[in-house]
């Protein structure tokens, strides 16, 4: 029983990290209807920038801020130079562009920082919690708290600010939002800034959690997150979060506890097909 609970807790942490990455993907899809696979590269870059700043300054705050800033810039650059000009073409065109960007960035990371696994020896100042026989390590607490913080922040922006309202309007219908005086391009860029910053946070968190930063670390979430936004209901942020948490727990239990050795990507897609057969628009998609 104790092992089971510990695995569930690990699964929730895994799911939280997936949620952070998938969020960005859901936000971008919601607004541009583009599958932003390159988001996984943004996440990787976040980890590298965070590591660099940490090595230089030792300050966690600067690490996270720097990572968020760097990722925002990268995200906006991708949007302006790759996606925006390709919007008028059928969807597989920006998709191929996105994959090309992801591979290029991966290669650049490899060339600049080396193919080796670098360590990220930081400790996050979160307490260890003891509940009965279960110990929740400080890093697990860090993941839970940071994820919860990000989600609350997003929820607040979305429901209590003009920006959030504008974002929701633009994601419904860009021409009409434009006609109402919303500068859709600012909204689109803001969406990328928010999504990419969150990816940066996720990259740094993962780097610290596993104590590993390496060029192909983006491949882990990259394609899984596609399955997750489908399961969640394309473009639905709450759906993406729920789907991510569920997958994190399911994966961890199946692989660690029940010993099913299937590769995680395949598991995610099998789950996706299962959910789609039950409910064809995803968990929280609209018909």
């Amino acid at each position: 029983m104790q092992l089971f609970l510990e695995q569930v807790l690990n699964g929730i942490a895994m799911g939280s990290i997936y949620a952070l990455v998938t969020l960005g993907l859901a936000l971008v899809y919601g607004i541009l209807r583009i599958l932003h696979v390159a988001h996984a590269a943004v996440y990787t870059v976040g980890a590298y920038i965070g590591l660099l700043i940490f090595k230089l300054t030792g300050s966690l705050i600067l690490t996270f801020l720097g990572g968020m800033l760097g990722c925002s810039v990268l995200g906006v650059l991708i949007e302006r130079f790759v996606y925006f000009p390709l919007l008028k073409y059928p969807p597989y065109v920006p998709l191929i562009g996105s994959i090309a960007v992801m591979l290029s960035i991966e290669e650049l990371c490899r060339l600049i920082a080396g193919p080796y696994i670098l360590t990220f020896p930081a400790t996050l100042p979160f307490p260890e919690i003891h509940a009965g026989t279960i110990t929740i390590s400080s890093i697990l607490m860090a993941v839970y708290c940071i994820t919860a913080g990000v989600l609350i922040f997003l929820w607040y922006i979305s429901t209590h600010t003009e920006m959030g309202l504008a974002m929701r309007a633009t994601s419904q219908d860009i021409p009409i939002a434009d006609a109402m005086g919303i500068n859709s391009h600012i909204i689109i860029s803001s969406t990328f800034i928010i999504g990419s910053s969150i990816a940066g946070i996720a990259g740094i968190l993962v780097g610290i959690y596993y104590n590993q930063v390496y060029p192909t670390m983006g491949a882990v979430p990259a394609y899984k997150t596609l399955a997750l936004i489908v399961v969640g209901g394309m473009g639905s942020v709450p759906g993406a979060v729920i789907a991510s948490l569920l997958l994190g727990v399911a994966e961890t239990l199946l692989i660690g506890y029940a010993n099913i050795p299937l590769p995680r990507d395949a598991l995610a897609f099998i789950a996706m097909i299962g959910v789609l057969m039950w409910r064809s628009e995803g968990l929280m998609g609209s018909r």
Binding site: P85, P91, Y92, G97, S104, A227, P261, P263
Partner: protein, 294 residues
């Protein structure tokens, strides 16, 4: 001709064959398939198993391989083609990952070690290799091109173009969209199976990662670079993306970066492909290419 060039050329021709299959699905019928490598893999593994475990010759196994791929294409196409665009894209990605996982984890398919010792193709009592193998692949390519060309001239092809352009309008003219999407899909996967069989007998050793998702992207990129829907696009794309890594070989460490950046530039500035209507290549070479876009 030196052996190295023949190797590259053979792989290019095999790729061109599989991309022709993709062209029928994506170019002619307008359906997104991001998991084409899975069907190449199904063809390769079928050929490998039929020749190593069942002792069949390449020629005896070939019709079975094509039938298997077409049949699995039918099974997978039925649920997948009901959904559109982004859903379809992700579903085909999922198919790729799941098929690859099956090859990797079910012992019957050799697991992580794959399948080795695939015999050479025998023709008139001779082992086919080197230049002769290349020529054999060329013959198959011509055959596949003929099939694709005939498809574009048939009513089935016209129906597929209609479904690609405006599905509901096509339906109002007696065309069942599902039927023709499926038809194109099955033809495409069957052709992919042929490519896979040739690949298996060429490499003589295959493993699951030869058919992973990045390979599907590579195949789709060849098609898009050539110009989807154009008869010659698969060949143009396969030649370009097949020779580029070799051209960049001297750059050693930077070669993958150059390759991906070039892909990015090409998709960013020439998404209709080199054979597309307004392409810079057409402006440069103003002579008319045979086959034409349909």
């Amino acid at each position: 001709m030196n052996a190295y060039v023949i190797t590259i050329a053979t792989i290019i021709v095999i790729n061109a064959i599989t991309v022709c299959g993709l062209n029928v699905i994506v170019g002619y019928a307008g359906q997104i398939s991001l998991g084409h490598a899975a069907f190449v893999g199904i063809g390769a593994y079928s050929a490998a198993l039929l020749s190593t475990k069942a002792g069949l010759s390449f020629w005896a196994a070939l019709p079975i391989v094509i039938a298997i791929c077409g049949f699995i294409g039918l099974l997978l196409g039925l649920p997948s083609l009901r959904v559109k665009d982004d859903f379809l894209a992700i579903t085909t990605i999922g198919i790729n990952f799941i098929v690859e996982a099956i090859f990797l984890y079910i012992p019957f398919f050799g697991g992580a070690l794959g399948i080795g010792g695939i015999p050479r193709i025998m023709l008139f009592g001779m082992k086919v290799k080197g230049l002769v193998f290349f020529e054999l692949c060329l013959v198959f390519l011509v055959l596949v091109l003929l099939i694709c060309w005939w498809f574009t001239r048939s009513w089935a092809g016209l129906a597929s173009f209609a479904v690609r352009e405006e599905e509901s309008a096509a339906s109002s003219m007696g065309i069942s969209p599902m039927r023709f999407k499926l038809l194109a899909f099955v033809i495409g996967t069957a052709i992919a199976g042929l490519g896979g069989a040739l690949y298996a007998h060429y490499m003589r050793f295959i493993s699951a990662t030869d058919f992973s998702f990045p390979v599907s992207i590579s195949l789709l990129s060849m098609l898009v670079l050539g110009g989807m829907g154009n008869l010659w696009a698969p060949l143009v794309g396969a030649v370009i993306l097949g020779s580029l890594p070799e051209i960049f070989r001297p750059l050693v460490d930077y070669r993958i970066l150059f390759y991906t950046v070039l892909l990015l530039l090409m998709i960013r500035f020439q998404p209709a492909g080199l054979l597309g209507e307004d392409s810079f290549a057409r402006h440069v070479f103003s002579s008319v290419l045979p086959g034409g876009k349909k």
